[in-house]
Amino acid sequence: MGVGLAYGFLPRLALAQRRTGGKTMYDKIWEEHEVAYLGGITSILHVDRLMIADGGPSTVHDLVASGRTIRNPQLVWTVEDHSVSTSPDRYTNRSLNLGNSWRGYVEHADEMKKLGVQSFGMDDPHQGIQHVVGPETGLTQPGMLMVAGDSHTCTHGAMGCVSWGGESAQNVLITGTVLRERALNMRVNMTGTLGPWVRAKDTILHTIGTLGADSGNRCAVEYAGPVVRGFSVEERMSICNLAIEMAAATGMVAPDDTTFQYMATREFRPRAEYWDRALAYWRTVPSEADAVFDRDETIDMSGLEPQVTWGVSPEHVIAVSGRVPDPANAPAAKREAWRAALEYTKLKPGDPIVGTPIDEAFIGSCSESRIGDLRLVAQVVKGRRVAPNVIAWVVPGSKPVKRQAEAEGLDRIFKEAGFDWREPGCSKCYGSNGDLVAKGKRSASNSNRNYIGRQGVDAITHLMSAPMVAAAAITGRIVDIRRFMAGEQV
């Protein structure tokens, strides 16, 4: 297998071997964008979309002011997400917003417009978390190669494109291209049928728990199989969102009719005169039937339970009916990490994870904050009340999501249940702008990282799906959403 060791020699070997079989989607998109091959496994690639969050307009402005030319301004878009507060007061009390990058959006608005750079600041009706906004607007399209600063840029792969995060904005602005080492091809086939209240988030957490937080290292991971085919575009985003949590170079789902139907109603979809050509091209993007993958995994999702993390890595995950694992039973290489994780999360080996009391509940983030996610949350909390002493937030992924939720009356359901209904942004997922889990508190969160201190100082994070967080908010402890919705005593 050797995927974890795949620097230098192996990819070259794999590339040579692959020429005999059909092409994968990753290889097709890579080759379509390859401007020059630099030897080894490195190439220069053309970038179809550059997304620069937060300081985007200022970055573009500074570059232009320094005498540089932005090579493809129409391929650049910017949005404010990490650096904005999600407080409803953020429009009137602008000092709530970290770094005040909103000023750049206002100051440089005309300039961005003249350059053709789409710029969605805090005041713009498109604003939201970049990985919600890209697909939602249609700026992200199948077959594209896109780069951004943020690590969760892999989310966009749900649309059938290749996308990753990193520090290359300046280079892309100047040259329209990026230097990149080619990844190996890995496929994760999800088979079986999902039970009620088991979500895409559970399938990917289970995948990471099964294969490991490093299992995608140096690989472009294509999520495939009947479970993935049955997912909505939004659910596919939840899977691809966590590709980086298995250390993958990117995550992808082959585009299909579900994708094309979604694209057809996007504001920034291909113009009418090009639609048919674009669609015909998109249909050529998926991996060929005889494509050779360097690593091919099949995971049966039948009988999968909702998942909950117990430690400080997304791979520290168990089924909701499970018990906190004992480091004594860990593989030798992981024993110390498990012990340290439990010391941080203050859980006892052998205890059921169900019943663990929580202090805060966070529903939001690029993982699961889209309208489909919020509809399910509303279904869970409707007519119920958040447990006393639990701080519970719903942070919609974007303004369009927020408007849609309000049009459907979901915001009223959340507020009546005792949730804070916030403005779009990254918020408590990574703890900034004062959107922090309080020191040492325990959080049920539908975000994507349970690292030490991620949501706040000494904050303990239990990752789970949005409906699971909603049920935890109501009961004040971790519960099985299936039993909760069945009206059982939980």
């Binding site: 060791l5 620097y7 020699f9 401007v35 630099l38 080894g40 490195t42 220069i44 053309h46 179809d48 969050a53 970055t59 500074d62 005498g67 540089r68 129409q74 391929l75 053709g116 789409q118 399209q141 600063g149 943020d150 690590s151 990753w164 995060g165 990193g166 520090e167 904005a169 040259t175 291209t177 990026v178 230097l179 080492e181 937080a213 490093d214 290292n217 140096r218 980086i244 504001e267 920034f268 979809r269 291909p270 009418a272 090009y274 639609w275 050509r277 674009a278 110390e336 990490a337 990254c426 990574y430 703890g431 900034s432 690292y451 030490i452 201190g453 991620r454 706040g456 100082v457 000494d458």
Partner: protein, 223 residues
């Protein structure tokens, strides 16, 4: 989070030049999945007494009141001046923050030898001039054991010859991507390299504008 503030200046700056040979103390930190939030936490006030040199690995290095954790390898007297880190699997997994590379470098780390690296940490190390060397686990573990058994003794990492010289263990060969090695030795930035291909880029774009015109077209024609 996106780290534009960490990105190199758009004008004139050369890439990091890396010495072809690093001789230094190697400190073993053989944990797997050491994430970017542990290497370089965000969104919290710095630990009291923390300096630029001790900012990396804050939660591993300090108690929250600023006392040093005595068991952390870089707090041990023999390893305080280490310039080489020996790490486990998936080191630097997580976010794109450039400080996950620059903070260890500020603490004097020049080389990281590990089983594998988080993809964004690896990209950032290439951009910032930190040498990230992958080794197989068995060899890596031997090297880590050697370093623990020989506190304060140096090893040499030779980028030109692609070997790690360890007294009593002989030479350990390694491979890094040839372009990365050349880039380090010549002090090239990614921008330097890309700009050398401006003709190919222009030709490629002409072709792409014909093949995939919808990609280049904005704004949309309808609401």
């Amino acid at each position: 989070m996106s780290t534009l503030q960490d990105a190199p200046s758009p004008t004139g700056r050369k890439g990091p030049r890396v010495l072809p040979r690093e001789v230094g103390i190697a400190a073993p930190l053989m944990l797997d999945n050491v994430d970017t939030d542990v290497i370089s936490p965000l969104g919290k006030p710095p630990t009291p007494g923390m300096t630029k040199e001790t900012a990396a690995f804050e939660p591993l290095r300090f108690y929250s009141d600023g006392r040093e954790k005595p068991d952390f390898i870089l707090n041990k007297q023999e390893f305080r001046r280490a310039s080489i880190l020996i790490v486990g699997k998936n080191f630097g997994t997580g976010s794109s923050r450039g400080t996950a590379v620059s903070r260890p470098m500020d603490g004097g780390i020049r080389v990281v030898i590990g089983e594998s690296f988080g993809p964004l940490f690896y990209d950032n190390s290439v951009q910032q001039g930190l040498i990230a060397i992958p080794l197989k686990r068995d060899v890596l573990q031997k090297l880590a054991d050697w370093a623990l058994a020989n506190p304060g003794r140096t090893i040499a990492v030779d980028l030109e010859k692609e070997v790690i010289e360890v007294s009593g263990m002989g030479n350990i060969p390694f491979k890094i991507e040839p372009r990365v090695r050349q880039k380090f030795l010549k002090g090239l930035s990614n921008l330097d390299e890309l700009q050398g291909y401006s003709k190919q880029i222009a030709e490629f774009e002409d072709k792409q504008r014909k093949n995939r015109p919808w990609v280049f077209v904005q704004p949309p024609d309808s609401k």
